[in-house]
């Protein structure tokens, strides 16, 4: 059993856009990294452009851009065509990650290793408040783990902890911090009001070693989850992407067993399952950026949404088995599929929410109250 613990991220260079220099977040980062070289730029877009044109991804490794978020912080997850979607909202507080997993979709979106932290957090809070007040009858599940990892930079920015406090009193929203990392110390003493789900992306141990080598191992993630459980948070687990490899049954079953040997099912809000999938252009990027990875050798074929997915019977079998193993331990968490069709739901689980709206209700209802 390996016990790799991810070291804390330390930037090699901070590039600050002048318009956010005086914000609380930038000042906090600068005080935490007083020895790290700082460069100021008038317009962050120059840096994004340079990073995009860069011939090597590594040119920007360790560099962090502290910039103003140009677009809305909060946006509905685009989902994918003709599939059941959980209708999640993404809160884009950062873009980029330091863990460089072989399957990561960010390779296709961001083109470089540059990390951006959006620092105009006053705008963030204003936008979220405005949305939650305007649509007070709606319930929002909001996560920061779409374009980055929710916890990996928290020792640098403290933003995740700020957000936990911000969401504490929200009656019609819950925050999800989705991570592979283990930096939970600052969360433990917070008054979270049951309005935050701390969730971990999980995978079979052998895949952690080959495809997520810079991320903490599964047991370290579980250690962190136990601490968060003790602090009374909702927990979540995401088996996404599940990867088809010769011993996948044993690999994934072991992880499910390890989760339920240490975590109470009643405190798990949800467990999502999703099979490896990516847009066609990602195939070449994975081959180029991760030549030792064999994930592209799976039976991945173009789906209805033109993304490459495992041949459907393979996905169904993986989901069916996982659902059975999870339900052997607990009926409490909502187990759901990410970006799958009604047919796959029915064949894998024996039932289907039938629509994105119905799935949303199931997930919302699970976390309307604090965990018992």
């Amino acid at each position: 059993m390996d016990k790799t613990v991810s070291p804390r991220f330390i930037p090699e260079e901070l590039i600050v856009e002048r318009s956010v220099h005086q914000t609380e977040l930038v000042q906090r980062v600068l005080s935490r990294f007083s020895r790290v070289p700082v460069r100021f730029v008038d317009n962050a877009e120059e840096i994004w452009l340079q990073a995009q044109k860069s011939s090597s991804r590594d040119t920007w490794k360790g560099k962090v851009l502290l910039a103003r978020q140009r677009g809305p912080f909060l946006r509905l997850c685009p989902g994918t065509q003709k599939h059941i979607c959980c209708m999640y909202h993404n809160l884009d507080v950062a873009a980029g990650c330091d863990m460089d997993c072989s399957y990561c979709i960010l390779q296709g979106y961001l083109h470089s290793s540059l990390v951006t932290w959006y620092c105009n957090t006053d705008d963030l809070y204003t936008q979220v408040d405005a949305e939650l007040i305007k649509y007070s009858e709606r319930f929002y599940r909001i996560g920061t783990g779409e374009l980055s990892d929710s916890l990996t930079f928290d020792p640098c920015t403290g933003l995740a902890t700020d957000l936990v406090s911000f969401f504490r009193d929200k009656r019609n929203a819950i925050l999800e911090l989705k991570s592979k990392n283990i930096h939970v110390e600052d969360l433990l003493s917070l008054d979270h009001g049951g309005r935050t789900v701390v969730s971990w992306s999980m995978n079979a141990s052998v895949l952690r070693r080959s495809e997520e080598s810079a991320a903490p191992d599964i047991d370290a993630r579980l250690d962190a989850a136990v601490r968060v459980q003790d602090a009374g948070y909702w927990l979540g687990f995401h088996f996404d992407p599940m990867i088809d490899y010769p011993d996948w049954e044993q690999g994934y079953r072991e992880v499910v067993e390890r989760i339920f040997s240490r975590i109470r099912g009643e405190q798990i809000a949800w467990i999502s399952l999703g099979a490896l999938r990516y847009p066609a252009a990602m195939d070449e990027l994975i081959r180029r950026n991760h030549p030792k990875s064999s994930i592209v050798l799976g039976e991945l074929l173009p789906g209805i949404d033109h993304k490459f997915r495992y041949f459907k019977p393979i996905r169904i079998e993986m989901f069916r088995r996982m659902y059975g193993w999870i339900r052997n331990f607990s009926d409490a968490p909502v187990v759901y599929l990410c970006m799958e069709s009604d047919e796959v739901w029915r064949k894998a689980f024996g039932w289907s929410p039938g629509s994105s709206a119905r799935l949303k209700v199931l997930l919302d209802d699970r976390v309307r109250e604090a965990p018992k």
């Binding site: 050798l297 039976e299 074929l301 789906g303 041949f311 019977p313």
Partner: protein
């Protein structure tokens, strides 16, 4: 650049000095034919070198002239000491009457970087436009690796039979592997749109089987498909591709085989088809048939009912997992 026109004795040209030579594997048939019929109209560019002359531009013309025993050649003699400037001049001179093929472009990039020791920025600014290319750093990824291509592949790459992208993929392999792959391409002659797929399939199948590409090329089934005499070249290519698909996508291929078996059992008449959705991604089949009369309609309908009675519809359903 100063230049003077002269008619020079061919023997005075130093054909062994290859400083400005740009490698091109293509045969010179057209050039030879043109010079034979119309003579040498485009003067060579040369530089004085002691009592002889160093060729700057026109190596192929000089070679053809030698083959045709032309003793006197029209030449521009340039007075320039800077080799790099002269190399650029040679490129411009060539580009005025022809375009460069991928092997030549690769050779120019190699020469610029290694012989003339130019930086990539200088090559982009000074050389790329003279090759008819944009100033995009990707030209290094796209053409320079062709230097590692085994000579077997040079002509196909230069004449455009092999796409540059595929040639670069092949160039990344060791020489023995490149040589082992050559008979496959030479026999199957896939079009450019299939080359990339074929190469990816070969590489993936080798990885999945845990063998080298060389071992894969020696595989009995694949060798048989390459050498069997009773296929047209299009059939041979399709069968070879199918054989690779079966290894690359075994479960999908088995499902396709099961579908084919079910449809064979159904004995559908010509004009009647049952179709699955691409890659079985949706659990839907569609039935197509044509009819002119009630009787023909009843026949088609009876076939479908027979399929249901024989549990073939159920078996179609089961293909979706």
């Amino acid at each position: 650049m100063e230049r003077e026109y002269h008619l020079l004795d061919r023997q005075k040209l130093d054909c062994r000095d290859l400083l400005f030579y740009i490698y091109d594997p293509l045969p010179r048939l057209e050039l030879e034919q043109s010079i034979r019929m119309y003579g040498l109209h485009q003067p060579l560019v040369v530089r004085s070198k002691g009592s002889a002359f160093q060729i700057v531009s026109g190596f192929r013309r000089a070679e053809v002239a030698a083959e045709l025993s032309l003793d006197v050649l029209p030449c521009f003699v340039v007075d320039e000491t800077d080799d790099w400037r002269l190399f650029l001049y040679a490129l411009t001179d060539n580009l005025t009457f022809r375009s460069f093929n991928p092997m030549e472009i690769s050779a120019v990039l190699e020469k610029s970087l290694k012989i003339f020791q130019r930086s990539t920025r200088q090559v982009l600014d000074d050389v790329a436009p003279r090759l008819g290319l944009g100033r995009n750093p990707r030209i290094f990824e796209l053409y320079h690796p062709l230097q590692s291509l085994d000579s077997l592949w040079h002509v196909g790459t230069a004449n455009g039979t092999l796409s540059v992208e595929t040639a670069v993929q092949i160039a990344a392999l060791d020489s023995a592997t490149q040589q082992a792959l050559f008979p496959i391409y030479d026999t199957l002659r896939p079009g450019k749109n299939l080359q990339r797929e074929l190469q990816q399939l070969l590489q993936d199948c080798a990885k999945i089987a845990g063998t080298s590409l060389i071992e894969l090329t020696e595989d009995e089934e694949l060798q048989r498909l390459l050498t069997a005499g009773d296929f047209t070249s299009a059939q041979r290519l399709e069968r070879f591709r199918q054989a690779l698909w079966c290894r690359r996508y075994p479960r999908y291929s088995r499902t396709l085989e099961k579908l084919a078996a079910i449809l064979k059992e159904a004995k559908l008449p010509p004009g009647m088809q049952i179709r699955e959705t691409p890659f079985f991604e949706r659990d839907i089949y569609s039935v197509h048939f044509q009819f002119r009369t009630e009787q023909e309609f009843d026949v088609a309908f009876a076939i479908l009912q027979e399929m249901r009675k024989n549990h073939l519809i159920k078996r179609l359903e089961e293909l979706h997992g």
